[in-house]
Symmetry: C2
């Protein structure tokens, strides 16, 4: 009976697993370098938890199930609700700031498409308990620190940054009613994603006053922070949010990544829960979705039954990233799926057991070692050794049969030595 | 609204995440050292896949769900069916032997108990395509290589090894009908797990002939391979299976782990699919379940629509292992959840931004660095630096305010230097 894999999932054969490890090892290294601590939660949670943050419409995007006790569970589509639950549970015991990262496996019941699968991995960074913009800067910095470390240049990608707080103040200053803001964000977030006519239509449904509509259109086309004042009368709230954003850009420049960062008022983010800075990193050449996105969220912990503590975070999926790494030729493929110190080559079936024994003794001494199960010719075994990225071959040939000497061949330089077994082990075990 | 986690799952706060990383990094390192390549599959598969290997009774132990297209899916309770599916799909393209490892997250809808959770991680090793006992030896060796590397001694644990093939031949020699073997394995597997009276009762239900029953009882109490011949007449099949097992023990001794390995005829393994060598590693002092188990399985690929290729594998869960590591005091806790090269300490609020800037520049230079968000007193910040396992502190104090000098404090030796910023960066960026 032949069974297929489920559509929208991936089989990580060793070469693809090596790509995943390349990506996730990089995320981990940069997170640690930036002082984030790793956490994780369970793969499933009570379904209700996702409804708290995202409403009932989230349910159809989830893989959900009823367990034997009749409880409704869901495979996690994101880790932020879990983070909020975990931090709330230990809010009084955790040292602040909570500066955590995670690389969860997530599932969404979406129709698979390019860069969007049903199962994926997502790098998450969050700083909880710091409301000043140094935390915003740190989250953006760590994100760019990673993207820069794998080879993306300022010509390849940009962190496009704006502020929900500023946008809200500006829209209120233009006469938009406070209770219309959330609906408006959803539309404004679409500006760069749909044709401008479609955008104008959507906007016109929400904003019926032509003067206000025109102002909002003009505002959404502004290209610099300094250009805003000529479009919208600056209220104290708007000015203060604008000043905060300026401080953030100064800080990002001082941190050495100013050339990766730019203001973009069209960055709004779809989710309702952002309350301050919002950002997305975009590929500057292609037409892909954002590589990642994030921002400040001040109410999430409270929504999950905890205190009102400010937080800022970022999420980056592996699918779009991997496509982009390939497009920019930044994946050092083919990856080594094995990387050995020693490969043992018995040329005579009589030495098969000795080969296993040598490999075992090397492994017990902390070296990586393997051997060929087939005592085929030297050329074939050397080929396998090279495919295994072995540094040295230990050949059991005539020298071994005759007087117990091993041939140690350096596969990089091609040089060989012929120590006795005792000499070889002395060199290994004294090292 | 306060929401709990699902019972039987774990929240990996940073200290527990560090334990998980300690365990899984160890699995990975030993797998690679032994020449295994890493793979992984999706977290869910078609439900049917698990029924192929384990029958319909597995369904109630699974977290299963119906997707929007009406397809029955299940969260994986083990990775072996996925492995069989993946290997079958590329059977002609994959270089043999397939020598793979994985560390999947798995879920089982069981009642949580000590060492048995609803969600766990499992180290899997498999060698596919090699039927001789060097592959059996390699799987046992890599398992012990790991357990030995984390500190378990031969007095702590033992790999208890037997052979399904030998047991089958012996039972057939005693007159058991071939179609009764599978049912009998399930009972024999319980010998060490239930009271001897209960075991005798179960056995008596299956074996009605008192003479055969007595022989089986005697056989199941045999303590060495050499003792078998005096209980059961050795058929050629039984003798050949016994000789194979002897060869395996010789090989394990030659590989340097003989003191961790012993014959134990009571190791049968519950699963139907083992066909040859079977083994479990047990804690010798406690009353825990096996730390891990495995064996040779010759029919699995074929059962999944592939060719009849022999394979041998092992699975080790993280829950029992973690308990045992703690019991034996082999977890170097508390683990460092952060480990920094530099911690920046601004003593004056005026230097807060400089602190961020220095941390950023260090990170861009590949160093791990962090800073305190609060410009509280030196003592408090040094305490935080120590908690972050920082190697050096960079203190921005009077020297910095006065003439731009940093105080670099080595937190191990306590020694300090006071370079100018230029001197400091020259030393960092030239290194």
């Amino acid at each position: 009976m032949k069974i297929q894999s489920v559509k929208g999932t991936r089989d990580f054969y060793p070469p693809l697993m090596a790509v995943r490890n390349f990506i996730m090892d990089g995320w981990k290294a940069v997170s640690r370098r930036n002082g984030f601590e790793e956490y994780d939660g369970p793969i499933f949670e009570y379904l209700q938890m996702y409804q708290v943050k995202s409403g009932d419409e989230i349910v159809e995007q989830l893989f959900h199930l009823t367990d034997r006790g009749g409880r409704e569970l869901a495979i996690r589509p994101e880790i932020t609700p879990t983070l909020a639950r975990m931090v709330n549970e230990q809010i009084n015991a955790l040292p602040r700031p909570v500066k955590w990262f995670s690389m969860p496996r997530l599932c969404r019941a979406e129709r698979p498409q390019k860069g969007r699968l049903r199962e994926f991995f997502q790098w998450n960074l969050d700083i909880i308990g710091i409301s000043d913009c140094r935390a915003d800067a740190e989250v953006i910095f760590a994100t760019i620190n990673y993207l820069r470390s794998v080879g993306f240049k300022p010509a390849d990608i940009a962190a496009k940054i704006s502020s929900r707080k500023m946008l809200a103040a500006l829209l209120l200053a233009l006469g938009v009613q406070p209770d219309r803001l959330t609906a408006l964000y959803t539309i404004l977030d679409k500006k760069a994603k749909i044709p401008s006519e479609a955008f104008a239509e959507l906007l016109a449904v929400q904003i019926t006053d032509p003067a206000v509509l025109q102002k909002i259109q003009a505002l959404m086309s502004v290209e610099s922070l300094d250009g805003i004042g000529s479009i919208v009368p600056m209220t104290p709230d708007a000015q203060s949010a604008l000043d905060e954003l300026k401080t953030l850009f100064e800080l990002l420049a001082a941190m050495g990544i100013g050339d990766y960062c730019r203001f973009d008022i069209a960055i709004v983010r779809g989710l309702a829960y952002y309350t301050g800075m919002v950002f997305e990193v975009h590929d500057l050449c292609g037409d892909l979705r954002a590589v990642c996105g994030g921002g400040r969220y001040d109410n999430l912990l409270r929504d999950f039954g905890g205190p009102a503590v400010s937080a800022v975070g970022m999420g980056m999926g592996d699918c779009v990233l991997e496509i982009l790494l390939r497009e920019k030729d930044l994946l050092p493929e083919p990856f080594a799926t094995r990387c050995l110190d020693y490969f043992i080559v018995p040329l005579d079936p009589a030495h098969e057991q000795t080969a296993v024994q040598i490999a075992a003794r090397l492994r017990l001494a902390g070296r990586s070692a393997d051997f060929s199960y087939k005592t085929s010719g030297l050329a074939k075994q050397l080929k396998f050794a090279t495919a295994s990225n072995a540094r040295f071959c230990v050949i059991l040939g005539d020298e071994f049969a005759r007087d117990g000497r091993l041939v140690i061949k350096d596969l990089t330089s091609g040089q060989q030595t012929t120590p006795t077994a005792d000499e070889f082990w002395a060199s290994i075990e004294s090292a």
